[in-house]
Symmetry: C2
Subunit: 77 residues, 2 copies
């Protein structure tokens, strides 16, 4: 895995962080996953250690939780 994955759920905090992350890392190096629209990815995100969004899964498998938008429980709604 050489790309990072940015998980978000469409909240204002998420969108702002998304723009910052893309600007910092480069959009070719990060896959954006909207968990509110792609609920089939939630279990995978949880398995990787994502507890809230927005979060960035790095290529080495670390999860960086950025600011706090919503817990995954809220996203599952």
């Amino acid at each position: 895995m050489s790309k990072s994955v940015f998980y978000h759920a469409g909240c204002p905090v998420c969108v702002s962080a998304e723009q910052d992350i893309i600007s910092l890392i480069g959009d070719e190096k990060v896959e954006i996953v909207h968990l509110g629209e792609q609920k089939n990815r939630i279990s995978d995100a949880e398995a990787q250690g994502v507890k809230s969004v927005p979060a960035l899964l790095t290529p080495n498998g670390h999860v960086l939780h950025i600011n706090f938008g919503a817990s995954l429980a809220d996203v599952k709604g």
Copy 2:
């Protein structure tokens, strides 16, 4: 301002996040500031909106609080 600033305080969470951020952004694009050792930078960090460490101040002035290591109040000790 074209560089990001990564504020940390030497805690394990901070050091891990530091390595991830440097790996993602590139060490030439981020200044690392250890607020535990450079306490004269704390007031500046607060003025920029940093509330806890580790945190990344982006070139456009946004603050991304990453995971949670310590509040600035704890760093001031």
